[in-house]
Symmetry: C2
């Protein structure tokens, strides 16, 4: 019998690439502002401003772009030109319009997992942009439920798991963020499967975690997921 | 018997003030850019840029702020200063942090309607900002369901009405926008109650509508709602 009945998937950097856009944007901003600001100072201040604005702006590219503009004005003490700020605006728009690139193996793995389990998509960030990416991903039909949430904490997962009608021990969440996809799911009584991505957003970093101690599994890529779910079934 | 079993409420400018913040912001931008741009030109171009960016940015203050910055750079041909753009950023942040002001009578009317009917809140825009306003409104507990959506079209209402388990003819939607709160609900087989607000956003304007012809009711203020719902019951 399948113990794991419902599998939740994160979107950004689990099913499709996202964080590289932010990393590329930091790169381009550094180049753009090189005449004004020293690189290390800029990097540090960009992260500080993004973090400080998170409660007001939330996750997503529009807030990120506003934070970039704020950082540029502040660090150049007003010397940044309107045309340079215009380039930051264009950068944000380009990020929003960027095509959805699926990670390797995603399509096949979802098809395989969907043969024996129910899938839900649980993503956070900007409502319009997430809906647009889901639509453009071509994966929407795979999921019986799609949840776009403000924050992925234990309470969020308890609500979503309850809505599936499945006990938490039969629910597994797959994602690239320990803080958002794994630890709160384990705390809610479910299973967490971590698939790290090349880049980790500053606000998603966790200082210290260990699969054995913190009760989750870690995979190198999504291609190992069907076997990992089978292994969880065996334990059940 | 109550024919109207479920009542949907819009949030912005139906339960709490919102559009006046955008109107005030336009006012302040006009003052700020008065040395650079003629007022009428600015007003027209602000609306055009907001409309052009709607598909990419969606509704909400972050996208509005980015559009203001874009308009300012474009219309001044880059002469706007970084410090003036910084003021536009601050304006956006002030709007996001603005206290939630309920419209007159809202608390009492919701309490009265909730005695005999089920209430749902259906609002559109930025997920984080809408959730924050709902929490700060103190009204969240009144609603059995809260839906924050990208766009309020007929299909959206069909889905939400179906989820309530009520036939459309027993559902009434209350809001200030003909385009978003009334006409698509009537098209979905429900009832629409329009309560116009002092300001109408450009993108919500409808050229020509008539309660009798288009099958909705119009009230001057929310205080008339209990009687209007009773009148719908009588017709049923």
């Amino acid at each position: 019998m399948d113990v794991i009945e419902v599998v939740g998937f994160d979107g950004d950097d689990t099913l499709w690439h996202s964080e590289h856009l932010f990393a590329d944007a930091h790169e381009r901003v550094a180049t753009l502002l090189a005449p004004h600001v020293e690189r290390g100072v800029l990097e540090r201040r960009m992260h500080e401003v993004e973090r400080a604005n998170l409660a007001l702006f939330g996750y997503g590219i529009k807030g990120f772009t506003l934070s970039l503009i704020e950082t540029a004005i502040e660090l150049t003490e007003g010397a940044v030109t309107a045309s340079e700020i215009g380039e930051l605006l264009t950068l944000g728009k380009t990020m929003l319009a960027h095509p959805v690139d699926l990670l390797d193996g995603v399509t096949d793995v979802l098809a395989e997992v969907a043969m024996t389990r129910r899938l839900v998509l649980i993503t956070k960030g900007d409502l319009l942009h997430q809906e647009s990416k889901i639509a453009r991903s071509g994966l929407a039909e795979r999921f019986e439920q799609i949840e776009i949430v403000v924050d992925k904490d234990e309470q969020t997962y308890r609500r979503i798991i309850a809505a599936t009608g499945t006990p938490p021990e039969r629910f597994a969440m797959v994602g690239n963020s320990l803080r958002s996809d794994v630890l709160p799911v384990v705390a809610a009584g479910g299973h967490g499967v971590l698939i790290p991505y090349e880049f980790v957003a500053e606000h998603e970093k966790v200082d210290d975690a260990d699969p054995a101690r913190d009760g989750y599994r870690e995979l190198e890529s999504i291609s190992g997921l069907p076997a990992a779910l089978d292994a969880l079934d065996e334990l059940g």
